[in-house]
């Protein structure tokens, strides 16, 4: 049939009108692609955040206001808690396991890093353990053994089994043997290292003290109850729960998603009116042509096809250019909004030193991810809008009476 050549030639005959009509769709489609890319990026980000947090439900740390003494600048240790608190917390109903942790800043072979002192068994029980890609994790009997992140290993050009020097604030130096390497996929987190709690307390001189107590509940639904129990029964502690933070963060992202989806849909909706308008004009202009086609034997369905093809082409053009514009915007957008994301999330309790390792994940800008599926989705959305917007005008055209249509000038 001549469906396509008729459609193409009629669109070409009115280039400006066709272009303007398609632009209406371009706006909507590019918004949609940007949104979908953003959502894909957020999903990836949230997934890695959740992964990074492991199974920790609650983090208990010292909640008193730190005095200005002895924080030691870069070689800081946050306010500490008594290690014995772990046992008390462990007795609280709903708590499944606890793991004390002493985290501090130090230098490994001259590179600054966060060091976590942990009890290997309870740590694995609470967090599910690290993703060890080479070597092994610490054991209860480990002494002067260290597990490093992949990024730190790479920047130090180290291999498994080598010795490293750990230096802390007091100028204490100690030699550790690298027994394992872990990966998280987030570079910042891979700049951390793990030693046993005993080693950590020893090297920092904080015997019997910890900076955080990690808590895992029997069930995720118990987290808020257990949190309030801990803060009401133990004075001077600060309780925070990473899962709540992730929830809050993803809730915020959802709001943002909804916001963009609404704008995109409104734009598409407006654009579809443009197509309807253009198609009605096109049908009116070509009333006589419709009459001719019917006189020489075209059926209603044939007429319908011709105008639907035209509307579909406008939709496809809008979809195509919309995808291109969307890709461009997706790359430009993060630059414009870098402030929004980092400052938008950080107020949620990130001052807590327990999150030091996670801060990288939180303060990273959302990196939009353009996936082939999103592109295909947006492109076909253009086609669908075109077809839907073309339905009424095409139906109107197909229903014209040939004799009356032929009388049209």
């Amino acid at each position: 049939m001549f469906t396509w050549s008729l459609a193409v030639r009629n669109l070409k005959r009115r280039k400006l009108r066709t272009g303007l009509t398609a632009s209406g769709i371009v706006v909507g489609i590019s918004m949609m692609l940007m949104l979908l890319s953003l959502v894909s990026g957020m999903e990836a980000q949230t997934r890695s955040m959740v992964r990074a947090l492991g199974g920790v439900d609650i983090i208990v740390s010292n909640g008193t206001i730190p005095a200005r003494e002895g924080m030691g600048g870069f070689f800081g240790i946050a306010r500490t808690l008594n290690e014995s608190l772990a046992q008390i917390i462990g007795q609280i109903p709903g708590v499944y396991a606890v793991s004390p942790q002493l985290s501090f800043s130090g230098y490994i072979d001259g590179v600054r890093t966060t060091i976590y002192g942990i009890n290997p068994n309870s740590y694995v029980e609470v967090t599910g353990g690290l993703n060890i890609v080479s070597g092994s994790f610490l054991s209860e009997n480990s002494k002067n053994e260290i597990v490093l992140g992949r990024a730190l290993m790479d920047s130090l050009n180290l291999t498994l089994g080598q010795d490293v020097t750990l230096e802390v604030s007091q100028g204490e130096r100690r030699t550790f043997r690298v027994i394992g390497i872990f990966e998280t996929g987030i570079v910042f987190q891979e700049y951390a290292s793990y030693i046993t709690l005993a080693d950590a307390q020893n090297i920092t001189g904080q015997n019997g003290l910890v900076t955080q107590i990690l808590v895992k509940c029997e069930d995720p639904s118990l987290v808020s109850d257990v949190s309030s129990l801990i803060s009401s029964s133990i004075s001077g502690v600060r309780v925070s729960s990473p899962t709540t933070i992730v929830q809050q963060a993803s809730q915020m992202l959802n709001t943002l998603t909804l916001f963009f989806a609404t704008i995109g849909l409104v734009a598409l909706f407006a654009g579809s009116f443009g197509i309807i308008n253009t198609m009605i004009m096109s049908v009116t202009e070509r009333t006589r042509e419709i009459g001719i086609l019917k006189a020489i034997g075209a059926k209603n369905a044939d007429i319908m096809k011709i105008f639907l093809a035209e509307a579909l082409l406008i939709g496809l053009m809008g979809g195509g250019f919309g995808v291109i514009t969307g890709i461009v915007l997706t790359y430009v957008f993060p630059m414009l909004t870098s402030g929004l994301f980092s400052s938008g999330i950080s107020p949620i309790g990130l001052g807590n030193p327990g999150f030091r390792g996670f801060r990288g994940a939180f303060s990273l800008n959302i990196t939009p991810t353009i996936t082939p599926i999103n592109i295909a989705l947006c492109f076909s959305l253009g086609a669908v809008v075109g077809i839907l917007a073309g339905l009424y005008p095409a139906w109107h055209a197909s229903r014209m009476k040939p004799v009356e249509a032929l009388k049209h000038a």
């Binding site: 042509e289 019917k294 020489i296 034997g297 209603n300």
Partner: protein
């Protein structure tokens, strides 16, 4: 024995204009046999075009029946009527009514495409038809690049695309100079002789009238033998 191809019995068509009923046809009886060239004359507004439209399945009579090859086309539904127009009749209009965005050969191909003919087959057939009307060399020109006479010849080629047994022409020479009008009528005669196609031509043009095998005059919605 010549066979009857069209038999119209008591055709009436009444248009409503506001509150007034305007009769366009008033009990028209007509019988056309295969291979005739029928001319219909009459003042404007006398109902000539209405009659042609009814025969061509573009319009329905208010009253009466019209049999084409024994089938009452007033009983056909919209889809079958479209099929009837596609395969049984060819239309030629005063103002050619070619599709402006399509070339001459594409215009001739449209009815074949509508009938589902494959592309290369209809190309060849369309080219043959254009050769027959002497426009082979103008095949790739758009209507606005052709003269009136040329456009009307393209319209003939298009009307013949699906080998209709009836060709209906509404003032086909009305907008042509006498040379083009004569050329047009020569083609009609040739086709009529060669394919035994039936022509019904609404006209004022004496050039056309003298080529017809039978002439009717329509007056106040009634058909009279001239």
């Amino acid at each position: 024995m010549p066979k009857t191809i069209i038999r119209a019995i008591g055709l009436s068509k009444i248009y409503r204009r506001g509150k007034i009923n305007v009769p366009a046809l008033n009990g028209v009886n007509l019988e056309v046999t295969h291979g005739e060239i029928v001319g219909i004359m009459g003042p404007s507004g006398s109902g000539k075009t209405t009659l042609l439209n009814i025969i061509g399945g573009l319009d329905k009579p208010t009253q009466g029946k019209i049999f084409v090859d024994g089938v009452d086309i007033t009983l056909l539904n919209e889809k079958d009527l479209a099929d009837y127009r596609l395969k049984k009749v060819g239309f030629i209009f005063q103002f050619y009514n070619l599709i402006p965005t399509l070339t001459a050969i594409e215009n001739v191909e449209v009815p074949m495409a509508l009938a589902g003919l494959p592309k290369n087959e209809r190309r060849e057939k369309a080219l043959n038809l254009l050769r027959m009307v002497g426009l082979e060399s103008r095949a790739d020109h758009k209507p606005d690049e052709l003269s009136g006479g040329e456009q009307q010849r393209v319209a003939i080629a298009r009307a013949l695309a699906n080998n209709p047994s009836i060709v209906l022409a509404d003032e086909p020479t009305g907008d042509l100079d006498s040379k083009s009008a004569m050329a047009f009528m020569k083609i009609v005669r040739d086709l009529n002789k060669r394919n035994n196609q039936t022509f019904i031509i609404v006209t004022h043009d004496p050039l056309v009238v003298e080529q017809c095998t039978r002439i009717y005059t329509i007056r106040d919605g009634r058909l009279e033998s001239a």
